[in-house]
Symmetry: C2
Subunit: 212 residues, 2 copies
């Protein structure tokens, strides 16, 4: 299904709604009004209705939404109803931190491989920190491992000066989704999707709001 | 200066423009057209002009922008022309990773304190990893340390079940800006600004784009 011209902020809020709906479900909630969902997610109710309206008609007027149904619908919209298999490239502090979040990720996101240019030096140290053995592979094997393990998303957590090289290797391996945590802009050909996660972007955003 | 109704996406792009302008300056660029800036930042030129138009008139028609002047203007808009002093609370993997980014942050963002509920146990290990001694304080001292060190932004990197408690301590200490990396929604009274950085939000966004 394709939905054109949906603002990126709406997609981000859908992700937030799905997290809130999971919490509501965990507490036994079955029906939820847009006002309750809004309050749980710290947005306003018209915003919830407007965001959902991009994708069709949800819920029952005067009643609300069935939490389970809405959650499934949102996951379907987000493409989060399938399993996404991911690799982390760069197992320094940040890569290790993300890797150790492994078990906290939503079930449909799986980290299935970890890469680093210095596997022998770091494998022991990271295994010790994680409390269990970890397999760390050399990026030279990225193409074949990607094929074997059906990797669709690559997470770049290398230093800035290595990031473009790794991005090229991901493109070479036909990994279409790239999440870049390295503090530099990287480029990929059309058809590949790069999302940057810059710590300073969110700090700039916060600074702007604090100054206003 | 106040600018109302500026989309959040514009603020995020301004942050990106400032990063690109810094790179352009570092390479000796003095004048830059909106097309060049757009290309460097992987957006389109009309978007650059539209984003800047929210804040007034910049650049010279037919010539472009003076890179240095535009950078200063954008920093002023973002509130990034002053020093922001920050504390990290929760020195596990993620907290340590962010702390070790200390030296890579833009000069106006300074991490001036690190807190954890287990300072004695972790101080030695983290100092060893960082290659230099680190002072880790107990969150019970947050209020007095905030005052002494003029902390305005608190970065929460605790487990989810500790995050709201830490947020309350930050509010108690009058830290107005909160950056929350813990995978849970936290609440703060009016006047405080909370920005969440959820790994899964950006993954959901990427999954959406890959599915489209």
């Amino acid at each position: 299904m394709k939905f054109s011209k949906v603002p990126e902020a709406t997609i981000r809020r859908l992700s937030r709604y799905s997290r809130c709906l999971e919490q509501i479900q965990a507490k036994g909630g079955q029906v939820v009004s847009s006002a309750q969902l809004a309050s749980k997610c710290a947005v306003n109710a018209p915003q919830v209705r407007k965001d959902l309206a991009y994708f069709g008609q949800f819920g029952i007027r005067g009643v609300g939404y069935y939490a389970g149904d809405l959650l499934l619908d949102i996951k379907r919209i987000l493409g989060a109803d399938k399993e996404w298999r991911m690799a982390i490239i760069g197992m320094g502090n940040l890569g290790s931190a993300l890797y150790s979040y492994k078990d906290f990720l939503k079930q449909n996101y799986k980290i299935v491989a970890a890469f680093d240019i210095n596997p022998p030096q770091i494998t022991g140290r990271i295994s010790e920190k994680l409390g269990k053995p970890i397999e760390i592979l050399h990026p030279d094997t990225l193409k074949e491992v990607t094929k074997e393990r059906n990797i669709e998303i690559g997470i770049i957590t290398t230093p800035a000066d290595q990031a473009q090289k790794v991005a090229n290797q991901l493109v070479e391996a036909n990994v279409r989704g790239i999440l870049n945590f390295a503090p530099t802009q990287i480029e990929a050909p059309e058809g590949y999707i790069v999302k940057d996660v810059f710590f300073t972007t969110v700090l700039d955003n916060l600074a702007y709001l604090l100054s206003a």
